[in-house]
Every structure is written in C-alpha cells, then in structure tokens.
C-alpha cells in the first residue's frame, strides 16, 4: 500500500492554476526527490499536501494511508503524521521555542493516546537531539526562529521533525542557505529518521542535497505535473543536460 497518493490534483493560488493534474505516489520507507525548474510548482505541491491556506484544490484527491485528507485541517494532517520542513520558517517573536515544541509534541502524544510530557521530561528528550544537530542550548529558550540564521532555522526544523516523529516528511529546499557543516548535520538528522517505514519527499533545485540523502526515486516536476519518474541515475542526466532535455513520459 502506498503511504501517500496524489491523484490528478489541480490546484490554484489565487486565480492562477499551478498544479495541473499532478500524480505521485510515495512508497513507505522510500526517499522520493522532486526536482524541477523555478516556477514548476514544487513549493505549491508541498503546500497542497499540508493544507496551506494559499492553495485551493479544484480537482483530484490526496490519500494518506488510503484516506482522503483534502477536508482535513492542517493540524489534523500534522497529527496524523505529515510534516513539512519549510523553505522559509517563519519567525514568531514572543513564542518560546521550547514551549512551542512541547505544545506540539504533547498535542501529538495526546492524539496518539499517550501521556503528555512534563517540562523536565521534555527537556531531557530534546537535549538528546540538540548536540547531534550542533544547536546551541540557548536556542531553546529564545523566541521561535526569531533572529536565527538560515542554518539555525533549518536545524530547528529538523529538531521538530526528530521530536514529532512523522511518517511522511516533506523537505522543501532543506539545503538552501546551509553551509557544508550545517548541511551535514541536517542530513544526519534526516538519515537518522529512516526506518524502512517513513517516506521522504525531498524537494530541491540542486542535486547537492542528494549526495547526503540518497533518493530511491527522482520525479521531475514541470509546469504543474510530474513528467518523468526514474531511479537516482536521473540526477546525473539532469545535471548534465538540464530540465529542458526531459521529455514527458507517455
């Protein structure tokens, strides 16, 4: 059974149709990379899956574990196990990072019928990951993403992913703004989550991130549709010849 099935989805932002009959299936335990030129609809695809308010789905359906999620609120999708690592995580002054993450984690635990964690238990849990991600301890007491560098914001996204343990993980341009050390730390966090069941959707312009997170499938997204799906060998062709060379599969 596929974990996520996107079936002939048409979606628009404002009056402009961005996704034009997109089909995609994610297999459990696999890493799917979406590559495509600017304006192809990559970020719209991630927004559509998580229920962003900008996007209106006009046709088609998205099934998560066989169940349609189009009528689900963003928080319901998250509680069910869908996670988006944002390309540009928003800054929220006044919301403490640790408080935010504990609220999110406890919402998830409550949804799963588990006991909520108290502050001490939560901090113990979180500290395990801070060092691994190379995050300074004071980042947990600061306001959420406020004044964080690009690298710190991305590490914070990965920290949330590690704590929330989602089942479908969408990484939207996770490598943008990262230096080589940050990229290594972030990739290590992501690879740690691979357990043979979770699926990853890695959205990227460039192949650099795929040196660290090995994909099982490459999907080329162009003009709102997946025009080609192949194995990792497609990356080399794209690097060499660019997106123009890719012909739509019949």
């Amino acid at each position: 059974m596929k974990i996520l099935e996107i079936k002939d989805v048409h979606a628009k932002i404002g009056e402009k149709e961005i996704l034009k009959g997109l089909n995609l299936e994610l297999e459990p335990g696999k890493v799917h990379a979406i590559m495509g030129p600017n304006g192809a609809g990559k970020s719209t695809l991630s927004k559509t899956i998580v229920g962003h308010y900008d996007v209106e789905v006009t046709e088609g359906d998205i099934l998560y574990k066989g169940k349609s999620i189009l009528n689900m609120e963003p928080e319901e999708r998250a509680l069910e196990g869908i996670f988006l690592s944002f390309q540009h995580p928003v800054e929220i002054p006044g919301v403490n990072n640790a408080y935010f993450l504990r609220t999110a984690l406890n919402a998830k635990r409550k949804h799963e019928g588990k006991e909520e964690l108290n502050a001490a238990e939560f901090l113990r849990e979180m500290k395990k990951y801070l060092e691994m991600l190379g995050m300074k301890a004071d980042m947990i007491s600061r306001s959420l993403n406020e004044g964080f560098s690009g690298g710190e914001k991305k590490r914070n996204e990965i920290l949330q992913m590690l704590m929330l343990e989602p089942e479908v993980i969408i990484l939207d341009e996770i490598d943008s703004g990262l230096d080589i050390d940050a990229l290594r730390a972030v990739s290590e966090g992501i690879n740690m989550m691979k357990d043979g069941k979770r699926s990853f959707l890695v959205i990227t312009h460039y192949s650099r991130i795929l040196d660290y997170i090995k994909p099982d499938y490459i999907h080329v997204l162009k003009d709102g549709r997946i025009i080609k799906t192949a194995g990792p060998e497609l990356v080399a062709q794209l690097e060499e010849e660019g997106y123009e060379s890719i012909e739509e599969e019949a």
Binding site: E75, A78, L84, F86, I92, F100, A107, H111
Partner: protein
C-alpha cells in the same frame, strides 16, 4: 440616583441634588465642565450616556471596623480588611487637582463624603482588592495614596465581583509620588457578565526625580474607562503600559494626559490591544510638553490586533509640544494575526484555538513580562487564560 438629573444644572441646583456645599471647589469645576456627553473629547469613544438614564441605588459610606488580613480589601467603597499596622484613614480630600480634565473626577469627589487615605511606609508591597457586592448600585469612592521619599513601593490591584449586575463604579486615585521614590502600580481586571461598569479617574503627581510605573491589564467584557492625568516634575519618569484583551460587546480603554512640567522628565507609554467579537478598544492619549519642560524625552505607541472584523480600535496617540529641546515620538498600528505564523503553528499539530492563543499571548507577553514581580505575572497570565477560554 439618576445621573441624567445632573445634566446642565447650575452650581446651586447640582449642590442641592448632590447634598453638598454650593461653595465646594469641586462643584464649581464639575458645573463648569458639565456631565460628559458623546461630544466630550475624552468620552468620544465610550458611551457614557448609557448610564445616565438608569436609576442607581446609592450606598451609605459608614466606616466599618477593619479586619486584619494580608491585603487591603475595599468592599463597596469601604475598607473592610487590611494588613496589621497599615496606615489607613478616612478624611476630607486635602489636595484635589483643580485642573483635571475629567468631570467624573470631580463627580467622584463630590459623591464621596471622604477619601480613603493610604500611607505607604518604607518599601511597601501591598495588594488592594476591590470587591463589589451590590447590584444596581452606584458605588463611588476615592483613594489618596502617598509614598515616602527614597522608597520603592508596589501596589497590586485586583477586582472581584459577587453575583451582581448593573452596578456602576466610580472610583479613582489621587497619588503623590515622593521625590527620589518609585511607585509601581499594577492593575489586573477581568470584567464579564454585565456585573458592573467602571469609570476610574486618576491623578498622579510625580515630584522631582520620582519614578512611577503604571501597568494596567484590562480583560474580558463590559464597559470600563480609566482616565489618567499625570504631572511630571524635574527628572521625573513615568512608564505606563496598558494591555487590553476584549471580547463580545466590551468597550474599554484608557484616556490619558501626561504633562511634562519640569526639565529632563521622561515618559514612556505603550498600549497593546487585542480585540475580539464586537469589542471596542480605546487608547486616547496625549503627552503635553510645557514651556518649562526642556530636555524632555517622551515616547508613546499603540499596537492593536483585531481578531474579528467587527472589532474596532480607537487609537489616538498625540503630542502637544511647546519647546524645541526634546526627544519625542508617537505611533499607532492596527492589524490581524499573521496568517503565516498561525499556519506554521498549526502545521505542527497545534489546534487553531491554541495557535491563536499562543500568538495573542506572545503579543501580550511583551507587556506582561514587564511586571517585575513574577507572582503578579502569573496572576495576570491566569486572568488572561480565564478571559481567553471564556469565549
């Protein structure tokens, strides 16, 4: 008593109605300004006339024996509890402000047979709880508060109403902040269920190098207006912060005049307003810098978040300046919760209600966390929670 009966009355007629000496100075001022109407500048956004037609029961203000308690409790305008050794007296007001802008300041004095005078000894840290137990009543009382030079005092005000309705409270302070002293006033009020409405008219007089920190936290529903006049002598400083979190049909806020009289005085005034439902928030604040107030620093700012399209914020920060040698600024913004921030929180599994609350609290926290005492901060946060989850 019906307040409408006081409209457009001569001094003699008003004296007869109020049962006071026609020569009372407050009466002359009250008659000269007149009962406020919707055309009065200070009451433009507050429907004061709503209370004029109602017939209110008046109370008799006979001093009770004061029971010993950890805090001062003022029940229906009379002190009923106080800490041991606290110096509290009933007396005629000796130092009324004869140039207050608010007619209700004078009406409050005229209706109160005496003021409650509280002397703050040393570095006092006291709580005043205002309790209201009477329905359909006009409860009026005035408090005179004095601290000592070189001392640092804190007054935390809270409000409790029993199962009452349709009461109007007119109360207020005359506060004298001594030279080189600090007085912190923290007001925490959560009104709801049409229990009582309030017009609180205050006067602050800051002596040389005095420091006043006034933080008010007004939450919930109903109608309430605080009117503040503050005068600053040389090197005095006032830091005023006002948080409004309103819902349903609430109409509440602050009208203030901060007057810089002495050189080198500084003022900082900040309003944070969160408005839900059909509520109306008011921040009508003037900072006046007189000819004598060279080297003033004055800053004021109002920020509002509207959680409902029917909510309305009347924000009017103003500067009136008569000198060149100063530093001053003012500003006002009104907007909604940031949808990107809201979505980010929801995308992590946090419910919309909780996410909105987190953002609203984040906005309010910048003021709440300015309260020095963490116990008070916790009480205010709890009050905020109660007001938030009631809707």
């Amino acid at each position: 008593m019906k307040l409408l009966d006081l409209k457009q009355k001569t001094v003699e007629e008003a004296a007869a109605l109020l049962g006071v000496d026609p020569k009372a100075a407050a009466l002359e001022r009250f008659a000269a300004i007149g009962l406020p109407t919707k055309k009065s500048e200070e009451y433009r956004y507050f429907q004061i006339e709503k209370f004029y037609e109602k017939e209110y029961r008046t109370l008799s203000y006979v001093p009770h024996p004061i029971e010993e308690a950890e805090k001062i409790v003022i029940t229906d305008g009379m002190v009923t509890h106080a800490p041991k050794g606290m110096r509290i007296y009933y007396e005629q007001c000796q130092a009324m402000d004869m140039a207050h802008f608010d007619p209700m300041y004078y009406l409050g004095h005229l209706l109160s047979p005496h003021v409650i005078k509280i002397d703050l000894d040393g570095d006092a840290d006291i709580e005043i709880e205002h309790r209201y137990t009477q329905s359909g009543a006009l409860i009026n009382y005035r408090i005179v508060l004095l601290n000592q030079a070189n001392r640092h005092s804190t007054v935390f005000e809270s409000f409790q109403a029993e199962d009452i309705s349709d009461t109007l409270v007119l109360y207020g302070y005359d506060i004298f902040v001594a030279p080189d002293s600090t007085l912190r006033m923290v007001k925490n009020q959560n009104m709801h269920d049409n229990q009582y409405a309030m017009v609180a008219s205050h006067r602050f007089k800051l002596d040389q190098r005095a420091n006043a920190v006034i933080k008010s936290f007004d939450m919930g529903e109903d109608m309430g207006l605080q009117l503040i006049k503050a005068e600053l002598d040389r090197y005095a400083h006032i830091d005023a912060g006002h948080l409004l979190y309103l819902n349903n049909e609430a109409q509440r806020g602050t009208v203030s005049k901060i007057i810089h009289r002495g050189e080198h005085a500084t003022s900082h005034q900040e309003a944070k307003n969160i408005l839900d439902g059909h509520s109306r928030g008011i921040f009508d604040a003037l900072i006046k810098v007189e000819h004598t107030a060279k080297y003033t620093k004055a800053h004021q700012n109002s920020k509002a978040i509207l959680l409902d399209e029917k909510a309305y914020m009347a924000a009017k920060p103003q500067l009136e300046i008569y000198i060149d040698e100063l530093e001053a600024s003012h500003g006002s913004t009104t907007g909604q919760l940031d949808p990107k921030q809201l979505f980010y929180l929801r995308s992590r599994g946090i419910s919309e209600v909780e996410a909105r609350k987190m953002l609203v609290i984040a906005f309010a926290n910048t003021l709440i966390e300015q309260v020095k005492d963490h116990r008070h901060q916790e009480i205010i946060k709890k009050t905020f929670d109660e007001a938030f989850y009631r809707n």
